[in-house]
Amino acid sequence: MTEFIKSEIRPVFKATTFQHTSKSNNKKRAWKSLKQIISTERSLQWPENYVHYSSINAPPSFKPAEKFSDLSGLPAPYTDPQTRLRFANKEEYGTLIGLPMDITAGYLALRGASSIVG
């Protein structure tokens, strides 16, 4: 009698073999790049003066950047107007004028000065 009722009551929509899928390992996770995450965060409506990720970036320095030679790293009083590379002495200038375009561009990129306006 009890067995009969039990089998009647047992909900049919529950599968006995059911396993929670979230516990298996091969679940695919949303893989957002950090850029996406930051841009979604930025698009949120923040209260005024609220401190969040992008607002704690350190401010720019008021001091002008010092100039160093691209070839040797020594202090560079001179700049070649054609390539915009900096150099410390005439020997460096000698090597500098012989450099191909792509190398000079690489040197500028290394210094973070590759943009045309900069």
Partner: protein, 580 residues
């Protein structure tokens, strides 16, 4: 039927009793604990012996190395938080410290789980965690103290919750910022009392400067400089590649070069002058013997130039001149490579000036340095000298560098694990299952409750700006440990409402806010140009293959044939040989 009921009921009753008895026990232990919460080293030891909860695993999940250990361990184990591939064994992935088994480390590829310090590549992070929890420190039935960066994003926290609570099935968890742990360690072990302090965490991805006032993080003055050890290594690698020897695919070796030979200059101009001299007068230039992974496993600085070094014969030697100090100098002058940002010392000064005026001299007395970059010789002295020259004469300046700056946060976690208050900070598995990720997010994100405050032009104390609806609640309790507010759910919703009305009223007059957004956009573009720079250089290399005898780019196609069984959903674009 009755039989089955009878079976169930006692079980339920048992469960209730068990949980009840648990709770009462914990209540008892809490009340039995001494009310004096000032933790001197000796009392915390006794507390640790008394601690009755589950054993605690402390994981300082850094972007380059993870510091892991159980609270009973003497010190943390430092495990590389990455998966590596080498040229010599193409079929194998080296996870964490498995790399010690590898002999030939030339051309090491890194798969890093973090981008700018935030874990985003879960297909990398999960195997590393699996490896660590299986082989280094077991996680089963433990409470976990884990570190996360400031402003860790909601999506990232959700996935972390899911992995730890559902896949590792841990008992309870606490996520804190490593600076919090460092501050805890400093206040309890070094200073001995609850002093205001500034924690400078100069790590792999970035450097943060965090002031603590009244034991709480002061968010309006918190600053982050996007320069870390990763950038220094990449920069050294690039300038060596341009000036001497093509080492673009030897990040691992160059990282060692950086660690062995670089130092922070205390007198930059003078050092620069010496570096410009020729011959023996130049005391800065050093020869570095690169490893060949045959006789020499790790490179080293050649001490005396004259003495014949038999091992080094036939080895490649780098000549390091001003590179030795110009590379770490980026931490102090990021503008040298076009990053428009203040350096560490200036940033600390700006941070101090953004704090309430009466706290400023006290903050200057307690500056704590942590993170791997502090291991550069001369780093502490340089920070001190620079601060001394920036700050007023009558303030005393004190810079503290712990014995081991890398594991300092872990040590803080270790002392925290003995703290009787710890239990109230944890989120348990039951709580997580009951209330979900929103609850844990709210609990572990103390910036959500941070006081909304002033900008730099108006650095007055800011109590007034906190909505009175929050402050006037009498039953609102604050943890003086981390400054987290325990807010009941009703209050929370109320305060949220208050915030949203605030927001609505201020939306019309939010000119300054849009300014801020513009600023941040600028910053972002500069960041992307940094990332892009790497790529630019690669392309240049590609066109100059003959010049640099580059072999890297011939091999990029072979990457596609790697055994991919363990990363089925793998995107091979993230294979990179530098720290990107």
């Amino acid at each position: 039927m009755s039989l089955s009921k009878g079976d169930e009921i006692p079980e339920k009753r048992l469960k209730i009793e068990r949980t009840y008895s648990n709770r009462s026990r914990s209540d008892k232990t809490r009340s039995r604990r001494p009310t004096t919460e000032e933790l001197s080293p000796s009392t915390s030891k006794t507390n640790k012996e008394k601690y009755a909860g589950p054993p605690i695993l402390i994981l300082d999940n850094g972007a380059y190395t993870a510091k892991i250990g159980v609270s009973s361990d003497e010190s943390a184990k430092i495990i590389p938080n990455c998966i590596m591939k080498v040229k010599s064994e193409r079929k194998r992935f080296f996870i964490g410290n498995q790399i010690e088994e590898c002999r030939d480390l030339s051309g090491l590829y890194y798969l890093l789980p973090c981008e700018k310090g935030f874990t985003v590549k879960w297909t990398v992070q999960k195997p590393v965690w699996d490896y660590m929890f299986n082989n280094v420190s077991h996680i089963e039935d433990k409470g976990v103290i884990m570190t996360q960066p400031i402003f860790n994003f909601k999506t990232i926290q959700e996935i972390t919750d899911e992995i730890f609570f559902e896949e590792y099935e841990i008992k309870s968890m606490l996520r804190v910022n490593p600076c919090d742990l460092a501050k805890y360690e400093y206040v309890n072990r070094v200073a001995g009392k609850n002093v205001p302090c500034i924690v400078v965490d100069s790590g792999f991805s970035y450097t943060t400067v965090v002031p603590y006032i009244d034991g709480k993080k002061y968010y309006p003055a918190t600053r982050r400089i996007n320069v870390g050890g990763k950038m220094l290594t990449n920069y050294l690698k690039e300038i060596i590649s341009y000036r001497q020897l093509h080492v673009m695919d030897e990040t691992y070796v160059i990282n060692q070069v950086k660690e062995d030979s670089c130092y922070v200059s205390s007198n930059f101009k003078e050092d620069m002058r010496i570096a410009g001299l020729h011959g023996d007068a130049n005391s800065i230039v050093k020869s570095y013997v690169l490893p060949d992974f045959n006789n020499i496993r790790r490179g080293y600085v050649q001490e005396s130039k004259g003495a014949a070094d038999h091992i080094a014969e036939g080895c490649q030697i780098l000549r390091l001149n001003n590179e030795r100090f110009t590379v770490p100098e980026l931490l102090f002058h990021p503008s040298d490579i076009g990053i428009e940002s203040v350096g560490i010392a200036e940033c600390i000064v700006k941070c101090i000036h953004a704090c309430p005026e009466k706290e400023r001299p006290h903050l200057a007395k307690h500056i704590v340095l942590m993170g791997g970059n502090c291991n550069f010789p001369g780093f502490k002295e340089r920070v001190y000298f620079d601060l001394r020259s920036y700050l007023p004469d009558h303030w005393s300046v004190n810079v503290h560098k712990p014995e081991n700056p890398i594991t300092f946060a872990w040590q803080g976690g270790k002392s925290l694990s003995a703290d009787p208050k710890l239990k109230s900070l944890f989120v348990t598995k039951e709580q997580y299952e009951e209330r979900g990720t929103a609850f844990t997010y709210e609990r572990f994100s103390d910036w959500l409750h941070a006081e909304k405050t002033c900008n730099e032009e108006n650095p007055s104390p800011t109590i007034e700006t906190v909505p009175s609806s929050i402050l006037n609640k009498s039953n609102l309790t604050r943890f003086d440990l981390f400054g987290k507010h325990e807010v009941e759910s009703e209050e929370l919703s109320e305060s949220l409402n208050a915030n949203s009305t605030d927001k609505l009223s201020k939306e019309t007059t939010s000119d300054s806010k849009t300014d801020g957004a513009d600023n941040s956009k600028d910053n972002d573009s500069s960041e992307s140009s940094i990332v892009g720079r790497d790529i630019d250089v690669h392309q240049d290399d590609d066109s100059n293959k003959a010049k640099f005898k580059s072999s890297l780019f011939l091999e990029t196609n072979e990457n596609d044939s790697f055994d991919t069984h363990c990363f089925s959903s793998y995107d091979f674009n993230i294979f990179s040989n530098s720290f990107v």
